[in-house]
Amino acid sequence: MSKYVHVENVKVVFETKNGSFTAITDIDLSVQQGEFISIIGHSGCGKSTLLNLVAGLIEPTEGALFCSGREIDGPGPERAVVFQNHSLLPWLTCFGNVYLAVERVFSRKEDKASLKKRTNDALELVGLSHATHKLPHEISGGMKQRVGIARALSMQPKVLLLDEPFGALDALTRANLQDELMRIVAASGTTSIMVTHDVDEAVLLSDRIVMMTNGPSATIGEILNVNLPRPRNRLALVENTEYTHLRSEVLKFLYERQAKKAA
């Protein structure tokens, strides 16, 4: 299974009031099963667009996408998404939000008790057992994001798609959640694609970093292999020369070769 998720010569053109706008073009990418991929690039280059394509939320104007050998023709629970703004339903409790997903995926084969157990397990995994019956507006931003992650993981997806999952969080919460995500993904072997702005996050979590050129008509500029041994420890990596090297590679790409002209 060397091409679990496969993006083939994809182009996305948005029709706007001012004519058509080519967001991304000539995108070719293959992701192996169990691999962790980061997509990094300047704001507005089309990272979310690429992720939404894999999610099936938008369709490519040209080209095709495949997952596990089948063409992607719409969203589905086997490709779970952690949304940039958590997207919890405000009228459902943390439990209710996760249960909605669990119920959808497993209710055909399992009884209520086991669905509830799955929901509670997912919340425990992200350390939220104590907030099970709270509503989203009663918990902090970091906790909301964790519920979003729990919801996605509870579905036992084949592919986990994360759109800047930690973007809105403070540095401490962010580090904690990154470690948790690393642990969970390693344990489950879930194939993951994550959009990020954060160079350290990309290097720490990824097997490969996809670096995108600036839009419009953005494309993949370079793909960087991260051959750091796992499990990775953020403190130990600070001293690691390979880590430092990779980090500067990404920074050079972003700030020298794809330097954003000041608007």
Binding site: G74, P75, W91
Partner: protein, 305 residues
């Protein structure tokens, strides 16, 4: 059930004003809840802190003054005119009227309570039917662009039509004044609910719909878990506007159709040249409208998340 409890509230609200007028406070604003608080603290006020006193003063003084001026103005106006009864005369007449609200001397002479209940029942039925049809249709309009395209020319055409223009059609179709009045309530109160519900559906954040799409929820689950809770606040706004319209329209409709009802009662008292009763009716209509609105606001508050 609801109808009766509302009616009882009206009486409760009115009776305290007896004392006030006799004490020369001249407060007849029975709709405002603040005035009740205002009369009790007179003695306790010394015990309250200065800021609490100031707050109480700011909250209660302006409405009290407004009402007092209104009544003084009314009394002065009544003195100039020989036809317009003053506050005191109206008050005495109201006391008499409400001493026996539920008498029944045949179809054309019933107590004010019966008239009010009959009007509320018509509004309840017409408004209930409008909700039953308007809200689901609103959901369909918001959810399906095709349906929206189909209905929007008809809605834009019919919505601005004056409620009473529908009355002849009702009389023609139903051959009876009672269902015709209900029909007018129905057709005039359906639009705010329908349109607000439809707008609510289109205003649902795309994020929520993306969750539904990723989970591939069934249309039923989408409705119960996402559409309905997200639209509820909009829907309640529509319901509130609708009941206001229904209460506005019932008086006019009953004036034309006759029968037992507050609108017809006003017309009847006009024919009897009993102006005090007309003024009382205006107060009753205002108070009941206010209570309906407050009641629905209370319900709507529960649905905010």
């Amino acid at each position: 059930m609801a109808v009766i409890s509302i009616n009882r509230k009206v009486k409760d609200d009115i009776s305290p004003s007896v004392i006030k007028v006799e004490n020369n406070v001249m407060n007849i604003d029975v709709g405002k809840s603040e005035d009740k608080k205002a009369e009790i603290p007179n003695k306790k006020i010394i015990l309250l802190s200065k800021s609490a006193r100031e707050f109480l003063f700011k909250k209660t003084f302006p409405p009290l003054l407004g009402v007092a001026l209104f009544i003084v103005g009314w009394a002065l106006l009544a003195q100039q005119s020989e036809n317009l009864p003053g506050p005191e005369k109206t008050w005495n007449s109201a006391v008499e009227l409400f001493s026996d609200p539920f008498y029944d001397n045949g179809p054309n002479d019933k107590g004010i309570g019966w008239n009010l209940l009959n009007s509320l029942q018509r509004v309840g039925i017409g408004f209930g039917l409008a909700a039953l049809i308007g809200i689901p249709v609103g959901f369909m309009i918001g959810r399906f662009a095709f349906f929206n395209g189909m209905t929007s020319p008809i809605i834009s055409l019919l919505r601005p039509v004056s409620p009473l223009a529908w009355l002849p059609i009702g009389l023609l179709v139903f051959q009876d004044s009672q269902p015709a009045a209900i029909w007018v309530i129905f057709i005039s109160s359906i639009w705010p609910m329908m349109i607000n519900t439809a707008v609510g559906v289109t205003k649902i954040p795309q994020d929520y719909m993306n969750v539904a799409r990723v989970l591939k929820l069934s249309e039923w689950k989408i409705f119960t878990r996402i559409l309905f809770p997200a639209v509820l606040p909009y829907m309640m706004t529509g319901v509130r506007l609708s009941i206001g319209v229904a209460w506005l329209v019932i008086v006019a409709a009953e004036m034309l159709t006759g029968g037992v009802g507050i609108g017809f009662w006003v017309w009847d008292e006009w024919n009897n040249l009993n102006v005090e009763h007309i003024i009382i009716a205006i107060f009753i209509i205002g108070i009941v409208g206010l209570l309906l609105e407050k009641f629905l606001m209370l319900i709507a508050k529960r649905f905010e998340y």
